[in-house]
Amino acid sequence: MSNGTQTALAGVTQEQGVPEEIVNDFSIQVATVNGSGSQSANSVLMRSIFLMGVPVSGKNIFPSNIAGLPTWYTIRANQHGYVARRREVDLCIAMNPETARDDVRNVRPGGVAIYEEALNLGTLREDITLYPVPFAKLATQSSPEPKLRKLLANMIYVGVVAELLGIGRDEVVAAIKTQFKSKAKAVELNVMAVDLGIDYVRARLMKRDPFRVVRMGLTAGKIIIDGNSAAALGAMFAGCTVVTWYPITPSSSLCETMIEYFSRYRIDPETGKATFAIVQAEDELAALGMVIGAGWAGARAMTATSGPGISLMGEFAGLAYFTEIPAVVWDIERIGPSTGLPTRTSQGDVLSAFYLSHGDTKHIVLFPSSVEECFEFAGTAFDLAERFQTIVFVLSDLDLGMNNWMAHPFQYPNKPLDRGKVLTRDDLERLGQFERYRDVDGDGIPYRTLPGTQHPLAAYFTRGSGHNEKAGYSERPEDYKNLMDRLLRKMDTARSYVPQPIVDINPNAKIGLIAFGTTDWAVVETRDQLKEEGIESSYLRIRALPFTPGLLEFVERHDRVYVIEQNRDGQMGDLIKLKVGRQCDRIQKVLHYTGHPIDARTITEAVTTAEDQMKEGK
């Protein structure tokens, strides 16, 4: 456990009577069984805190099965806005008899455990506050239907926790209304269950723990949403017309959300017809093949998948690269290799996405780190794919994609769609010539026409085999070399089009931190922790491959640069090393690969240890 945290909590033990209050800074872990309907209770609890104006995040640790196995939901509330995972559990709600003992053992000293009274855990810990609650008994009062009763049992703990922490009933009720939308009956039942919890606390429990929620104003105007939904919405507002997919955790919800919202907002009001096609493909090869066919014909087309799907897309990815066809692939990363841990998060596909396919293939890759960026990059990815006529990967992860995040409301896109260098019939008429693969503008990007263009110059032939500037079949060494060199040039042009890194230079810092994607949230917190320990740091957050030139400058500016990522091999670190050449010995890797999202304390410890060794001259 971290020193910082221990200091903050010193004095919080039961012997000392009522401990010092800990306000708006704790993490809750709800341990349940999947398929038991705890998901909505968890969301309601999270949203209630959010509605209290306190920054909050929720993370679901669920098994790769459908029902009956242990599941944990972690809620972090933090007045400073830190929303990364915390290693420590302050409050545990142990609803799953199978894991309850472990769950309670896992609470940090000074913490709280709420559990089913019948489990008899009263003697398990002396250093935490224990609140037994007869959930089962209370549930029998909630409904005569056993099935419903089981569902409502979860909502009872929401009431218990709310009352113990001081979360307002109004906020809970509002959260329930959001959760169950307009279904009055469901709202009513759930509120009733919550009240059972509240009443029980009032009647039977004495608050003996330090944790409290107090109203703040930090969440006003914000939304709560998961990254997959954000991406789906972003794509919808970016004019996406063809979506293909093959279900795979944790990407399925991205496309399922598309189905939902496209059906609502993308049916032409006049004709009643769809302005899109969403197709469940037979596998990931087909999914990408369809995207490529659609991109070739001019649609904004995308698919979403995860690691195993990426591995299946190799051949088609190379085709898109070599024939220069726009395509967008979202990879919601999970733990690999192979099937790996389908319900655990990872950043392990950096190299496989970047290098995907044989031969000298390389791709544009984007790394959103927030739901706002999921929304934004959904459009950016299409713009880049069409501008550069190539396949673009967007690497999100399970943590970002499937968990709930606070965010600013999405901004209506202010830029027109960049459809890239497409020549229309009129253009052809005006130009009088067209060669599909010629570098007319010196930026490596050729022009294209769409099938169906009614002009004798429009037609050309697309092939994944060797071709010359006129798109004619060619095995000539010069044609091949020209093409390959142009593709490199094109990728170079892309460096200034892709989202540039977010850089925060601290002029006093000797060290720099580099991260990407969801690791950002822990790094932000780490920087403050480091500062507390007297270590100033700069920070560069990578948002895309290929790299932009600023990277080298950042590395050169700092004695040591820590590249933090969530995979075993330090994949981004290797790419950075290659990029910065002899400066590579400034790079140090901080790696986290357990399947759980990275936390600030882990990074802080790694960095301080390394810095200490540095000082000691090791």
Partner: protein
């Protein structure tokens, strides 16, 4: 749409285009390859039907057969995809632009070996596409290995004998609900041209499994996919004629001798009875017929199955009439109000 000009010289079609407009580059296939024959019939069919070249989109996988889209309708866009995965690419393109006339050309290796999965799902979806299998029972381009349509007992040049049963793509297509299924022979242009025209007029997937001998690797004695074997064993189901929608049908034949099949665009396929009565509207009958022919080693050719009523994938998706690819931003980007509403939902 170019309109029809009635006062054209005889060497052009109804669009005023000469046959050369439907040709492509010179073939680089072996002299005598069956695939070149099919190419000629495609050229002829599209010319005679009068399809505007720019409306055509050509697709293929990889193989000698898959090279042929470069050899016809040069003024249309073509896409030579990867081996066995053309169906996905064609599906995507046809969704992006439903106004295209899609022609896919594939080999028996491309379709029945590596590609059988995508083939099946294409059929299942009923994607609007003319799908021509240039079936020679071998992998031509990789020099003569057996494909999954090679007959049991058929021999490679090096003496290796095939032990595995062939996949009959027409049987699969019929079982999977394909609504236009024909078998033909590259050496039978008279039959192939109307079958292709029918496929152009059809809505949904039109499958043509065309025996197309590989003169280099599978045209020897012992091959069941040779010109000689095919010629000797061809059994035509019917004589086929095609009357496009813009021509008057003339009923100048005796009762019962001819069956007219109306196609989706109003064109007609005219099946003139030969030895037997054949009604291509019955699945079980079609399957029985093929099975029997296969047992006898007969190459049964003609329109095996046709179903006018079948919905295609575009119907299933309830798509707009206009190509999705080129819809204006106003149609594909919901309003500011929509976003506000959504933001509200999540707040």
């Amino acid at each position: 749409m170019t309109t029809v000009n009635p006062n054209l010289p005889s060497k052009t079609n109804r669009l005023g285009l000469p046959m050369t407009e439907y040709k492509g580059l010179d073939s680089t296939l072996c002299a005598g390859c069956g695939h070149d024959g099919i190419t000629s019939q495609i050229v002829k069919a599209f010319y005679e039907y009068g399809v505007e070249p720019h409306r055509v989109a050509k697709f293929s996988g990889i193989g000698c057969s898959s090279k042929t889209p470069a050899y016809f309708i040069g003024n249309s866009h073509g896409f030579n995809a990867v081996h066995g995965r053309m169906p996905a690419v064609a599906t995507g393109a046809m969704l992006a632009n439903r106004t295209l006339v899609g022609v896919g050309v594939s080999g028996d290796g491309d379709t029945a070996s590596i590609g059988i999965g995508q083939f099946i799902h294409l059929l299942r979806r009923n994607i609007p596409l003319i799908y021509i299998i240039e079936n020679n029972g071998v992998y031509g381009l990789t020099k003569g290995q057996f494909s999954a349509t090679a007959d049991v007992g058929s021999k490679l040049k090096n003496g290796i004998v095939n032990e595995l049963p062939p996949i009959d793509c027409c049987v699969l297509a019929i079982e999977l609900g394909c609504s236009y299924v024909a078998r033909s022979f590259a050496g039978d242009p008279k039959q192939l041209v109307p079958l292709i025209k029918g496929a152009i007029a059809h809505k949904g997937t039109a499958l043509l499994d065309v025996i197309s001998p590989c003169v280099t690797f599978n045209n020897h004695e012992g091959s069941t996919k040779s010109f000689k074997y095919a010629k000797e064993h061809e059994e035509m189901l019917h004589e086929i004629g095609f009357v496009p929608y813009f021509e008057q049908i003339q009923a100048d034949y005796p009762e019962g001798a001819v069956k007219e099949v109306e196609l989706h665009d109003g064109s007609h396929i005219r099946l003139r009875k030969l030895d037997r009565d054949y009604d291509p509207s019955s699945k079980p009958q079609a399957l029985q017929l093929i099975r029997k022919a296969n047992e006898l080693g007969e190459l049964i050719t003609g329109l095996l199955f046709y179903d006018r009523e079948k919905k295609d994938f575009i119907d299933d998706l309830n798509m707009m009439d206009e190509p999705l690819a080129t819809l204006p931003t106003s149609q594909v980007r919901p309003s500011r109000e929509a976003l506000a509403e959504i933001n509200k939902e999540f707040s």
